[in-house]
Symmetry: C2
Subunit: 466 residues, 2 copies
């Protein structure tokens, strides 16, 4: 096979980098399971009809054709073809409907899988990447306490990545109802349009957003300024949030007995509950930040974005919200709250900026040397006996000079080399050498254990180096 | 979203079934890592040009188109399009060439990932499924001891699945050179054809194969009979194998000083080494079985199939072999030996026949009850304190009647329900109830631990039930 060129947008990691990714996945899963989330995996494909109707990303689908169908593809409507999923939310809503009779609600699930986006290749955009999602789905109704619990689970999951170099994470929360009520109170009607422009604040700044609100959303200068004032509001606790919001309303003439205020108030109450309850459980983890808008149109209440301290340019690495209408069947609705970590992008950052690295490439703690090929069987037996005791062991590939065997261990980061007694000198017993520290000692397969510092492959951050 | 119909060939598991799949994956990975294999993950797509040239399965590719390209697909040659990988061997060979400078050889890797086959839908065939592969790739050369070590790693991996109901596995090994040498010694020239027909033995029986050898491969009746005699040879040790083979050669006039015999002899020596060494390390794990042919044309030496005791109708659940020519770059070749478990098919069997089942749906060991919504914070604190101590905990979704909260725990299989002290009666302390045994006792978050029988979600086999 010819050398394959690497494909833009399809990241692939070297073994030592993959150790970091695998450890991150294991860690997230552990936290999700500690919190009682149930793991599922959905098929990679969905019908085009499901993929096309959801959100911005529906423009970026990869469609499939069987090789036998090539040349006859044009006849088939996109809706009837299969496509790769572009997120884990569309598959979840389909899974819940398909299996509703077999699930216990509220259904709390975690899911870590690849997703695909058929974008034009461009710098820094992945076309295949891993997402790590948690969602809770109610049958008919869903209590709003999940709107604070889910972001807190994500914060503790990200917290568990800090030993590998992940910076402190803070969830920035807003509420769609709050924004919508305020905009309507101002007299604006193109709510989705305003949200879309406000979502650009971090990218293009307030002056440009102001211009767009006027030119695209029919806002007056005063209305646009009011929208930006709302977007400027942040708060660590409910009281501060209520005070700030009510001050804005009164200064822009939004009456407390108006329909618009009533709508905004629903969102305000939920958001105040979220920041207050979060502060009780994990102070500093969640702040109210009224510029958070989120591009996807399926959110109906809380929306979240998550930023890493000192890595704000990375943008949000974990986003989500509440969606009351994503899944329904007849008159039955399945409201949900969920967040999704963009794992591949976070991994890229961890590898390139945070200095996350594997303590070694190989999972083996020890390499058993081979004096000569006729004697390989004995080395195999030693390795097998160590494995029986849970110690990961490799055996030298060839009975090369011992220096070469040690070099093989060194390349893979295997810390110990085991020397079976020389053939003929079995009475002398085996020896094991720590090739990092240089110390060598007699060892027996039934009792030897690696020093705890060297026993397991692990992931370290830059600050652990040296 | 409308209810999605489940898609034929794209299996998806309920949460309790997924626990079995995840546990199998974790177990296999553990054994692979104990043996010093390094984990990698490759992208899901490869260029059509790579996918088209390898083996039988190349007829079953799924090709991708970006939504924007729909309608312009016909202009692009299949070779230049992207397709989903149909196995993990083609991606591995590409990965090795692409990253050869960054890998340590021999490169021992494990890889557990989904693969896709764009087949016509039919009963019992998966179009998306999980494979669990191990391979070792040499740079230039690869010692033949790996041809016994890799099947033994797979046997110990399958052995580790036995507590979940997986039957005893036996690897059946043959060698392409042995078969080819024998066929050539008989005067046959269409070696691939003969292997292809012999591969059908278990499906259509010796009489039909005999007819096909005559009609399709230009064999005389005597040659066809000789091929079937060879296919009938099995042996547990090298001496028995050599004796049986040499008897067949002399009875069919294949001279020991012929070129054909010399070729067969290479294969015979390797196969004899494999069964003898395997018998020393793990008696009964590997037998020589000269009917094993394997459909794929890239094998050049050893070939393996693996059968489960009492589940022979399932066919081989773990197959592979040695391939000397899969990857090359200029004059440099990368020979390999590998085996692949068809994990989804094995999982189907484990669920439907072997009675593998999860001890519970939820990973949580305990559900913390909520007396009333105003008091939810206290329940959250209890759950959090338990999680800090590594005990997976969930909190009741609503402050419903306690009977309903217990029912929620019961549906998810959560064995314990934690009752915070009633508001106002905090001095009485908390209580925890095992809803399986019915016992209830006072408990403190700082010290309580679940009974070991109930502490972890686990997988059991039929015989563990009740």
């Amino acid at each position: 096979m010819a050398k394959g060129a690497s494909l833009s947008g399809f990241p692939e990691w070297l073994p030592s980098q993959r150790v970091v990714e695998q450890t991150m996945i294991d860690t997230l899963r552990h936290v999700f399971e500690l919190n009682g989330f149930v793991g599922i995996e959905t098929r990679a494909v969905e019908p085009g009809s499901s993929l096309l109707k959801k959100g911005d990303t529906s423009k970026e689908i990869y469609l499939l054709s069987r090789l036998q169908e090539v040349g006859h593809e044009d006849g088939k409507p996109v809706e009837d073809r299969l496509g790769l999923h572009f997120d884990l939310t569309v598959p979840l809503s389909r899974y819940v409907l398909e299996h509703s009779g077999d699930l216990t609600f509220p259904f709390k699930r975690w899911q870590i899988q690849k997703v695909w986006r058929g974008e034009r290749p461009q710098e820094g955009r992945f076309r295949e990447f891993v997402q790590a999602d948690i969602d809770v789905i109610g049958n008919g109704e869903l209590p709003d306490h999940y709107e604070v619990e889910l972001p807190l689970v994500m914060v503790s999951a990200l917290e568990a990545l800090r030993p590998y170099g992940c910076p402190k994470a803070t969830v920035h929360a807003n509420n769609r109802k709050l924004s919508e009520g305020f905009y309507r109170g101002l007299g604006l009607t193109d709510i989705e349009g305003v949200l879309r422009e406000i979502d650009k604040l971090d990218k293009i700044g307030p002056d440009e957003v102001c211009k767009l609100l006027v030119s695209q959303c029919g806002a007056s200068q005063a209305q646009a300024t009011a929208c930006l004032e709302l977007a400027g509001l942040t708060a660590d606790d409910g009281e501060e949030l209520r005070d700030g919001f009510d001050r804005l309303c009164s200064s822009h003439g939004i009456e407390e007995d108006s329909q618009s205020y009533a709508l905004a108030r629903q969102g305000l109450d939920t958001l105040a509950m979220i920041v207050d309850e979060a502060a009780r459980i994990r102070p500093g983890a969640v702040v109210a930040d009224l510029k958070i808008a989120r591009g996807l149109d399926y959110y109906t209440g809380s929306v979240y974005e998550t930023f890493l301290e000192g890595a704000e340019s990375l943008g949000s690495i974990c986003s989500g919200g509440r969606y009351d209408n994503l899944a329904s069947q007849g008159s039955r609705v399945y409201p949900g709250v969920g967040l999704s970590i963009g794992l591949s992008r976070l991994l890229s950052y961890m590898l390139s900026q945070a200095g996350a690295h594997a303590s070694r490439v190989s999972p083996a703690a020890v390499l058993v040397a081979v004096w000569n090929e006729d004697d390989r069987s004995r080395s195999n037996h030693i390795a097998d006996a160590l494995r029986q005791r849970g110690i990961a062991a490799d055996v030298a590939p060839t009975a090369a000079k011992i220096g070469k065997q040690i070099k093989y261990a060194d390349h893979l980061g295997i810390p110990y080399v085991w020397f079976p007694a020389q053939p003929g000198d079995e009475a002398d017993g085996d020896q094991v050498k720590n090739i990092v520290t240089g110390s060598q000692e007699p060892a027996q397969v039934v009792s030897w254990t690696p020093d705890s510092l060297f026993s397991q492959q692990s992931v370290q951050s830059l600050s652990d180096a040296d």
